[in-house]
């Protein structure tokens, strides 16, 4: 049964680690200790989860396709620059 710990210095250092590494699988003694803390702390679990969801939402935000017109405009602009040839 998880507990909601009162925030202590321990939670604070866990937060810092969470924010830097999210759930990166780093196998140092400190990381094992932090993972053990998170497993027993509802607040840290909720915080880690919300940070991961933040990143996930931005990753899932669809990127629009470049309009065909943009490509045509770009190729025309490059042709215009042809006179300034790369070969100088």
């Amino acid at each position: 049964m998880k507990k909601t710990h009162r925030h202590t210095l321990n939670c604070r250092s866990v937060y810092k680690h969470i924010c830097e590494n999210l759930d990166a699988d780093i196998n140092s003694a400190q990381c094992r200790e932090i993972r053990a803390h998170i497993a027993g702390c509802d607040n840290c679990t909720a915080y880690l989860d919300s940070l991961k969801k933040t990143v996930h939402l931005y990753r899932a935000y669809p990127t629009p396709r470049m309009p065909a017109q943009s490509h045509k405009k770009l190729i025309a602009a490059i042709a215009l620059n042809k006179s300034h040839n790369i070969k100088q």
Partner: protein
């Protein structure tokens, strides 16, 4: 002939483009234009500005192809140019609102609160990209200063490594990690009220 030019590596295309082969350059454009457009869009969240940055970026690349030294990947060089264009456009638009200080991330303050942190509900896939949520995501990232936004986009959205990001932004790896941490915290805080409703 068309098939063969498309099979050339970036390095081969760059070499040919440097020797005046415009078709080789156009092939590079086709290979990377969506990446440049997408990255620009993620930075400015605006299709017109993304298009403007796309044009500026490839014209710059075309003019400065000789400066590409091949020590990094071509895509890394492109990311550097897009980043510079985005940051320069911001200065041009004189949108330098007072620089928000993220030196003191809110998490430290949050860690002193003695209340429990509410969980964010799982967002169903079909609901995830509704207009309201997109608008919140756009607003939150717009509030994030561009120096932090670019780190967040490169690392967390484009999946570049800390080392690549550091090279593009001419920062140290610890500085990239610090900005990423602050950016994540900032965005999380901005979205929190909406996500716990």
């Amino acid at each position: 002939m068309t098939g063969s030019i498309q099979q050339l590596s970036d390095e081969q295309l760059i070499e040919q483009a440097r020797n005046g082969n415009v078709r080789a350059f156009e092939t590079l454009v086709k290979r990377y234009e969506q990446m440049v457009y997408g990255f620009s869009f993620k930075m400015c969240r605006n299709k017109e500005k993304a298009d403007e940055t796309l044009q500026d970026t490839f014209i710059n690349v075309y003019k400065n192809l000789k400066q590409f030294n091949g020590k990094s990947k071509f895509s890394t060089w492109l990311y550097s140019i897009v980043t510079n264009n985005c940051l320069m456009n911001r200065r041009k638009r004189k949108m330098d609102r007072e620089m928000m200080s993220l030196d003191e991330p809110p998490v430290e303050d949050g860690a002193n609160h003695h209340e429990s942190i509410p969980s964010w509900d799982d967002t169903p896939a079909e609901k995830m990209m509704n207009t309201e949520l997109r608008s919140h995501l756009d607003n939150a990232i717009h509030q994030l200063p561009e120096e932090y936004r670019v780190v967040f986009v490169l690392r967390d959205i484009e999946n570049l490594t800390a080392e690549e990001t550091a090279r593009i932004l001419k920062l140290s790896v610890p500085a990239v990690k610090s900005r990423l941490r602050r950016a994540r915290i900032f965005l999380r805080e901005e979205l929190n009220d909406y996500m716990v409703q």
